[in-house]
């Protein structure tokens, strides 16, 4: 009995899919586009936040040193930095170390460095900053006071543009959500229309079932499940495309700018939870869309 009911639902869905033709393709396509666009935004913001968070964590302030800095000046500076409240950690990077790091970054293109007679890279102190001092103002003050010290060539801090980037990420998140919502609602209507057409195409059959005593659920559930399936399949296809796009982008970045984007540890795809949520939301939207159609076009 239960099995037969299940068979009925499955069979109906299959029939609707086959008969729906381009309508089904259109609604799955709509969901794919909606979720692809939303997914791109999601992936971009996710990766950008990740990168920014890492940068923010890694090197917040870099104090470049004069090549001619004396040992005395160096130890004075070191003491000053150790005493500084904002500074959590100080790392000294010598000229040789800087060159070695650079060599590592541009590996495979080391020939670029062959012509160098002496090391052009400055030694530096890399500072990690306590969380509560991580504001543009506080860092600007710190940079200004450090710049006045003997032996300091320059002080770089990325806080300002990290903040700006964070702002951009925020805007992108909102934009992504808005565009996603608009496209999602559009897909909902397209699926509603597809289901409406399915209802029309099978009006006679539905009429017969109704008059011989089919319950509302018996008639509606297959149609609603079909909408869900269309939404879910659309979202899953979007995920597939998104992943392909993501791999292609990583590969492209990897070949064109290996120094910035070395290897795959740079990128991050949507977590499984996100992926499942996307498919789930797709199925939910599809189901709601067909529910709307079924409610409006089916009487009992």
């Amino acid at each position: 009995m239960l099995w037969e009911r299940f068979q009925h639902f499955l069979g109906e869905i299959f029939i609707n899919f086959r008969r729906g033709g381009w309508g089904v393709v259109a609604s799955i396509g709509a969901f794919t586009v909606a979720f692809l666009v939303t997914g791109i935004f999601l992936l971009l913001t996710l990766n950008l936040s990740h990168i920014v968070a890492r940068w923010a964590e890694d090197f917040q302030v870099v104090v470049f040193l004069h090549d001619g800095i004396t040992a005395e000046q160096l130890s004075l500076l070191r003491k000053r930095l150790d005493k500084e409240l904002a500074v959590r950690e100080v790392t000294h990077v010598s000229k040789a170390q800087a060159l070695a790091d650079f060599r590592k970054q541009i590996r495979e293109q080391e020939s670029l460095l062959e012509g160098l007679k002496n090391n052009p890279l400055p030694a530096s102190f890399r500072l990690r900053i306590h969380k509560k001092y991580q504001t543009a103002d506080a860092l600007r003050q710190l940079a200004a006071s450090l710049r006045r010290m003997e032996g300091v060539e320059d002080v770089l801090f990325g806080q300002e543009w990290i903040e700006r980037l964070t702002g951009i990420i925020h805007v992108m998140k909102i934009l992504g959500m808005v565009i996603g919502a608009v496209l999602g609602v559009t897909s909902l209507f397209i699926v509603a229309n597809t289901i409406r057409l399915a209802v029309y195409a099978r009006a006679e059959e539905i009429e017969i079932m109704r008059l011989v005593g089919a319950t509302r659920a018996y008639i509606q559930i297959p149609l609603i499940l079909e909408g869900s399936l269309q939404g879910g399949v659309g979202a899953a296809m979007a995920l597939g495309l998104l992943y392909a796009l993501y791999r292609a982008t990583l590969w492209q970045l990897g070949t064109s700018a290996p120094t910035l984007f070395s290897g795959s540890e740079m990128g991050q795809f949507l977590e499984p939870a996100y992926q499942m949520a996307m498919v789930g939301v797709g199925a939910l939207l599809g189901g709601v869309g067909s529910l709307v159609a079924v409610r409006r076009f089916l009487k009992v």
Binding site: I208, V212, G213
Partner: protein
């Protein structure tokens, strides 16, 4: 089995389909609902099936007041009523067997049982050898018999037939009537709507005559 009390059905724009109908059909009866087209026969059958609600009056079918029946009680009611539609309502995109199977599924008859039952009913109406043809390929009389077989799937307490002999030649029409009489013999209450007075007189059953939505005469 079927009772109507002062039932009226008035469609929008004051189209009066039925006016003040009171009638009583006994359990196990075979009754004709007779009258020219437009007299309200189909409307009356639709009200019995609760496919539509009357504007006024009460209707009892099988002990239940269908006017006040809640929506979720409709399917069980309808499963006790077999219907033969005026236009047959056979699906032309599937075989005769599949047409019946669709209804068997709705009725919740397990496939094992429904297969046998469909076979038996098709044998009864003389169409077993055409089970796997599309109704489209069948003659009008054969399609009608498929519709009858389908209506009997639920072993209905009541069988409603709307112009079951509509455009059949007289010979075939009588065949169909005999078939319905057989069903009646086994205890099913049968209501047949027809515009054909000859058929009524040949069968010699009780007939309710409708005219312009009113019950004007009753032939016993």
């Amino acid at each position: 089995m079927i009772q109507m009390f002062q039932v009226s059905k008035i469609y929008p724009k004051q189209v009066e389909a039925l006016l003040d109908i009171t009638l009583h059909i006994q359990k196990g009866e075979f009754v004709f609902l007779c009258g020219p087209s437009g007299a309200g026969k189909t409307t009356l059958l639709r009200l019995l099936l609760r496919d539509d609600l009357p504007t006024a009056g009460q209707i009892l079918v099988n002990g239940r007041n269908v006017v006040r029946l809640r929506e979720n009680k409709l399917p069980p009611l309808r499963r006790t009523i077999g219907v033969i539609f005026q236009d047959f309502k056979l699906l032309m995109d599937r075989t005769v067997h599949e047409n019946l199977h669709l209804v068997a599924r709705v009725l919740g008859i397990p496939d094992m049982i429904s297969r046998r039952k469909i076979g038996r009913l098709l044998t009864e109406v003389g169409l077993l050898q055409k089970a796997h043809q599309i109704p489209y390929m069948l003659s009008g009389g054969e399609q009608q018999r498929v519709a009858i077989a389908r209506a009997l799937l639920s072993d209905p307490a009541i069988l409603l037939a709307d112009e079951p002999t509509g455009n059949l030649d007289p010979e075939l029409a009588l065949d169909i009537m005999r078939l319905l009489a057989d069903v009646n013999l086994r205890g099913t209450t049968v209501v047949v709507a027809t515009h054909n007075p000859i058929l009524v007189s040949e069968m010699g059953r009780r007939a309710l005559i409708l005219k312009h939505g009113r019950l004007v005469e009753e032939i016993a």
